[in-house]
Amino acid sequence: MATITANPPRIGLPGLLKNRAVQKLLLLAVAAAILVPLANARWASGTWPSALTVDFSEPLAKASDWIIDNRDSHPLFLYFFGHVSNVVVIAVRAVYLTLLAVGWAGVTALGALVAWRVAGVKLALGTAVAFLACGLLGMWVPTMQTLALMVVAVLASVVVGALLGLAAGLSDRMDRVLRPVLDTMQVLPAFAYLLPVVLVFGIGVPAAVLATVIYAAPPMARLTALGLRGADKEVLEAVESLGSTARQRLLTARIPLARKELLLGVNQTIMMALSMAVIAAVIGAGGLGDRVYQALASVDVGAALAAGIPIVLLAVVLDRVTGAAGEKLGAAPEPRGRLGWLLALAGVVAVAVAGRLAGRLDWPDAWVVGIAEPVNRAVDWMTAHLYSGVPVIGGTADWAGHFTTWVLDPVRDGLQGLPWWSLLLIVAALAWVIGTWRTALTAVLAMAAIGVLGVWKPSLDTLSQVLAAVAVTLVVGFAVGIAAARSDRLERALRPVLDVFQTMPQFVYLIPVVALFGVGRAPAVAAAIVYALPAVVRITTQGLRQVDPAALEASGSLGATSWQQLRQVQLPLARPALLLAVNQGLVLVLAVVVIGGLVGGGALGYDVVFGLAQGDLATGLVAGVAIVCLGLMLDRVTQPTERRAKKGA
């Protein structure tokens, strides 16, 4: 759309017609002029016509009954799923028992020394402090349970992801087949596939591990494929000229060349897996997530935070250490590197044995610091003083009320009031202007699928919440991002804050959000903003900082003020990054729609939670698929085609 308004008005009609976007829109208008009266004559209704829906509830209910009735006897379960389940249980148990046997001192030493070898002294200290903090918060055993689960889930995700990525990296056809599969795995809300996984594996660790793998394997697969495809052509040709076979080429050249991407894949997989720790607790994964979830039941923010902090610490430590390992890759190997590793290993063994001899394997109860009470007092104070009756600006409840009545209601009613075909047209127009006819077709089909599934109205309700949340996220995110790009100090200060927001399980801040904004759609929007903001800030800052300094200097020497520089040089040049921020904002906001269902957001998020709670596959899965369709549509409408081509994997 921007291209149209950018046209100087003095170009006459023929000039306008040459503009590609206008051409597309005209074509679309012609098509609409023919199709709309036809559709309107057959199914004259404002919302999606019921003649065009398909009811999936019966087959889905039958499928779930079949699984329950045959789970204990059918060979598929006895000889396949049963073994998968057993292997997972045994693997997790083995890791867990090992961690317990090494003891808290041993585990801390192991973590610190590995971090020292891989990433240096500073991160080693950080790792040790993080582990000790988990113990101090009284969360040692749950932390070990979560860690055991994570080790197994990450290993499985890395193996599965690497295999998929290998297939996609070596064969174009596999790449085309896998791409939509990977997209779906990432966008489908985890809550929606928890239920099918639970039906097959039952409540507990196996289901939790599998659900985590579904969520965490795609980044590994994408980055593996990207690495394999991106290998330097000249190197490959050189290897080929030496007469090596295809397998030798793969093992000696392509995979080693791709190791940076592979390591980044591992890093991303770890982060995704950890973000599932709490959601997996809903189906009995145990560990830290379960503590957060149980604290939520007794409305105890302090206890939830005490279990949430170790998750944040684990995530930050693992991210930094694997990140540092990735940066070190390719550098010259250190002299006496092996000696260092031996020393580290000896240190760990010494500490573990010492702990064992001293009989101090379990974290001592006396060393636990209770943070729950002061935190709860702080939350109480905050909600008591901010909820309502603040002079001049009004309380948070008033804001939430105004936001609901002035923003959410009109957007929702507007979307639901539009005739269904006009929404399809708008989607087509937006997607076509920004991309090709293919993107437009995908977007329209995704939107139509929502209607066919019979969830048109709740989906538009969800869409209105997503749009409102994204709008606020972008306004705040761009402002903070621009500020951070202009001040190094602010950026440094923001980094830990953004880390915490990104990795803190959303369950922890549900209660404060309700306490501030009341039950309804407003707290759902607030929770989404908290979650999506860090990514938008980061992408904006990075995009602005990467603007060519030469362009800035040139404009500076021409006497442009700093505001002019920002508006006329930096922002236009950072446009791709800003568009990516919009896109990521949408995807992330959509990812917390389900969480919004837990605080009164209603619509699709509530349906997904309802499906899981009532064992109702039809409601939960259909709502989950509708969320995927919304995500697909929003992605196509906001992501220009050329960047998708570059993304590659």
Partner: protein, 318 residues
């Protein structure tokens, strides 16, 4: 200690060998975290409300301190908990609010779940207004007068209608049908979780604002925010058979315990104890209030109750 670890490693590796071939039994899989340090484990399911936490806390305390078991707890929603119980992932549900469909499937047909007797507590769902509001408008406690007062209950979420707040999606509710069939000028707003609902109720009560909510007894929140029930058309057997046409109040349900049938047979002292576990609404509320309001850990709350009610729980152990 070392011997135990070696034994565990041996057990793990022999299990690995065993599973390499032959059929795997999906009904016999415990949590990998169970029996971790050579103790016998009982796994109890906890539902998201505090009453259920109170049952489990006391049962756990007695199992651990009087009978020498290790207790694992898993928080699961009600329907999935039945599924988990059938598969032996958990050994017992201590508080069930009535799931006829699941009872028929698992207890009567598949026989994977056994009845564990009553909990001794009677549950009741209903519509409640805060008592300070009922004192101002005494006639508000009859459903026939609710339309007259609907303007009091307006919120941004419910628009021009009054708001009837419902809670977690896992709870049994006929409220949407009730509002429609009783022709009430109300909008059901789902808080989405009990935590959100309680937080909102507390906020309303702090400001003495009117509210109408789906709620249930026994519940510790009544001690904190006194609430009065709104009379709905009386409950008669079978009046809630058709979920679309319900126009009557919710029944009073004696809450039930259920055990995995394998555990019920072979669970030894633990199973016998859980079958005998039976206490009163007041007992449960006492423990719930300590957990939810005084923010005591479930373990401390259980200890406090156990120390002062010896005669009650001695009977469960005999």
């Amino acid at each position: 200690m070392r011997v135990r670890t070696t034994a565990a490693v041996a057990a793990v590796s022999s299990l690995a060998l065993l599973t390499g071939c032959g059929a795997a039994d999906m009904t016999k899989q415990a949590s990998p975290f169970a029996n971790a340090q050579g103790a016998k484990t009982v796994t109890l399911s906890v539902q998201s409300w505090v009453g259920a936490q109170a049952n489990v806390a006391v049962a756990q305390y007695l199992l651990e301190h009087e009978l020498g078991y290790r207790v694992d707890t898993v928080q699961v929603d009600e329907v999935p908990a039945w599924d988990a119980l059938s598969q032996g992932r958990v050994d017992a549900i201590l508080e069930d609010w009535g799931h006829p469909e699941q009872e028929k499937r698992y207890v009567d047909d598949k026989k994977t779940i056994a009845r564990g007797g009553g909990l001794g507590v009677t549950g009741h769902i209903g519509w409640f207004v805060p008592t300070y509001l009922a004192k101002q408008h005494p006639d508000i406690t009859n459903w026939k007068n609710l339309n007259k007062y609907s303007h009091l209950f307006r919120t941004p979420e419910s628009g021009s209608k009054g708001q009837l707040m419902d809670g977690s999606p896992s709870y049994v509710t006929n409220d949407k049908a009730l509002v429609k069939n009783l022709k009430l000028d109300y909008q059901v707003v789902f808080a989405g979780s009990e935590a959100a609902q309680i937080t909102q109720i507390k906020q309303f009560a702090k400001e003495k604002k009117p509210f109408l909510t789906y709620w249930y007894a026994p519940q510790w929140l009544f001690k904190k925010v006194p609430m009065t029930e709104v009379k709905l058309p009386p409950y008669k057997e079978g009046c809630d058979a058709d979920p679309e046409k319900v126009a009557c109040a919710y029944p009073h349900t004696p809450l039930q315990k259920y055990l995995n049938s394998g555990f019920a047979k072979n669970g030894g002292k633990a199973a016998a104890f859980l079958k005998k576990f039976r206490w009163t609404t007041e007992d449960q509320n006492e423990v719930s209030l300590m957990i939810a309001e005084q923010k005591m850990s479930p373990e401390d709350a259980a200890k406090k109750w156990v120390d002062s009610h010896k005669s009650t729980w001695k009977k469960w152990l005999s």
